[in-house]
Amino acid sequence: MKKTVFLSFFLFLFLSLSSWTKELHSDRESKYILKETRKAISATFPFETFSLEQKEQKLNTSTFLEAHSFFNIISEDALKGYAIIATAPSKTDSFEYLLLFDLNLKIKKVKVLIYRENYGGEISSKRWLSQFIESPEDDSFVYGDNISAISGATISVKSITESINEVMVSLKRLESEKQI
């Protein structure tokens, strides 16, 4: 029994130490976000090598779109799509999610990158997020209608739904202004 306790203590200590580094937390989160973004692009698009080119902020910020980073996805010297890392609110905190678009501004992938709050993290479910890919273009997403509810995560479900709607509105504006 004592050995087990001893062993679990060390296990815990090493787990903690392995995640400890001198760098700032936000830097570590940035790196994690970028790593996950690159992974998602590789899995979504057919090309193997690509680079990301960060663009100036282009989208409108709002309650549901607190911040964002906008990237062009470049492969073989050609623009292949767009990646947007967006920040949206949960009940008392915020979370980052990734949106990947092809050149026709069709959503190819939605992925929650960092979710911080104890409740509401169910929105990270791959299966649930795939609704945003399946829905027809030009349709806005409506919680409860074409976007199904998740019991126990209502606030975050509404938040990411509204947030994606706002991104779409901004992208369509940029498209009409020929900025993308």
């Binding site: 995640s19 970028l34 911040a67 920040t87 905190d93 299966r127």
Partner: protein, 385 residues
């Protein structure tokens, strides 16, 4: 033993080293790391404030009404950094009783794994964990969640929680302190409300047996959320008393719950079964009438009559409950039919804003004794922010 420890150290150091290599590789690839902090600059830090409360009016047939601030709960959270957060809820019940409902530190190890320690809610069924008045129908919480699952059930413990995004699941596994069955003077558990009076709530609680509690939630089918919860262990008895046979009993509990939403329609249901061991010895020692099996279920359906795009929701609902704290009794206690209860609740919840609700309903409550049906009218306001 030493070899095992040594190999463990080697495995983990290699993890640490490989992790570091990867990070520097990433930062080389993208030189404009700092600019991504656009996203992370505006993060809320430090203190979180919140709360929920319900003010209720209950009018049982032929009796005076009771008007009560049933509960007012203030939530305080503090985020030490991105990974470590403290959450506490201070509860005022009926204005004058103060409790701590939750007080735990959440340590986020990875996106899918958290270590939690402190005073936490036991994950069993729906309401014990999700009990804010704006997220359940009915002025009163389902009675099953009072008599079989002793809501709000919280104890001090430690454990793991997290999500598995690939399979759309959430898991929780904790070691908790258990119920107090004997305080040295009297037995606390009884037939009418089962385990409820044995909750220690983290207040100078005594402990001599560790209890396990776990829950697995699956939400991979759109609109549907299913949960299975389990609890296993033994009750506690104070020093000196715990040597006496019958002072402690074994407790195993199973909960199955489901919530379904399709457009404006929603439904939920829950089943709970508690199996107690050595209740004969306990009842003999204490003169109590504790049942050996407690069982119950409820089903509820609701429909929102307002359009989706409205900020407000008006949900009409109906709920049927059937539960029995004397589902089975041992050899020395007779089944009390009054403990087999059936309740119908009809009413509506008018959500005047997300987080604020007016509620009204009518309940008929009966037991297995014939002609025992009684009615009750309830109204209430609830808030959650």
């Amino acid at each position: 033993m030493r070899k095992a420890l040594l190999s463990l150290i080697i495995i983990f150091s290699s993890f640490v080293l490989s992790g570091q290599n990867k990070q520097s590789y990433d930062s080389l690839q993208i030189s404009s790391n700092q600019r991504i902090l656009n996203n992370l600059a505006g993060l809320p830090q430090g203190i979180t404030l919140g709360g929920y409360g319900e003010v209720l009016y209950n009018k049982p047939e032929n009796l005076n009404a009771e008007i009560d601030i049933q509960r007012l709960v203030l939530l305080f959270g503090y985020k030490f950094d991105e990974r470590v957060q403290f959450v506490t809820e201070i509860e005022f019940e009926h204005v004058k009783e103060v409790y701590v409902e939750q007080a735990f530190v959440n340590y986020n190890l990875t996106q899918g794994l958290n270590i939690r320690a402190g005073l936490m809610l036991v994950p069993m069924g729906i309401i014990n964990e999700f009990h804010e008045p704006t997220i359940f129908n009915g002025v009163e919480r389902p009675s099953l969640d009072k008599y079989i699952i002793p809501t709000t059930w919280r104890e001090i413990g430690i454990g793991l929680s997290g999500r598995l995004n690939r399979i759309s699941a959430r898991y929780q596994a904790y070691l908790f302190n258990g119920f107090l069955s004997h305080n040295g003077e009297t037995g606390l558990l009884k037939g009418s409300n089962g385990l409820r009076s044995g909750r220690q709530k983290g207040a100078e609680s005594t402990m001599n047996h560790v209890n396990f509690a776990g829950k697995f939630d699956f939400y991979g089918i759109r609109g549907l959320r299913l949960g299975v919860s389990g609890y296993h262990g033994k009750t506690q008895a104070v020093d000196g008393q715990n040597q006496i046979p019958g002072s402690e009993i074994g407790v195993s509990m199973l909960g199955i719950d489901g919530r379904y939403t399709y457009k404006k329609f929603s439904a939920r249901g829950q089943y709970a079964l508690a199996s107690l061991i050595d209740t004969d010895l306990y009842n003999e020692l204490t003169g109590r009438d504790l049942g050996s099996k407690l069982m119950g279920y409820y089903l509820e359906a609701a429909y929102n009559v307002l359009p989706f795009k409205n900020r407000q929701r008006l949900e009409g609902f109906v709920r049927y409950e059937n539960f029995n704290t004397h589902h089975e009794v041992g050899n020395i206690v007779l089944k009390n039919k009054a403990f087999h209860r059936k309740e119908w609740t009809f009413g509506f919840s008018y959500h005047i804003a997300p987080g604020a609700v007016y509620k009204m309903d009518y309940q008929t409550k009966s037991t297995a004794i014939s002609n025992s049906t009684k009615g009750q009218f309830n109204m209430g306001v609830g808030i959650w922010f």
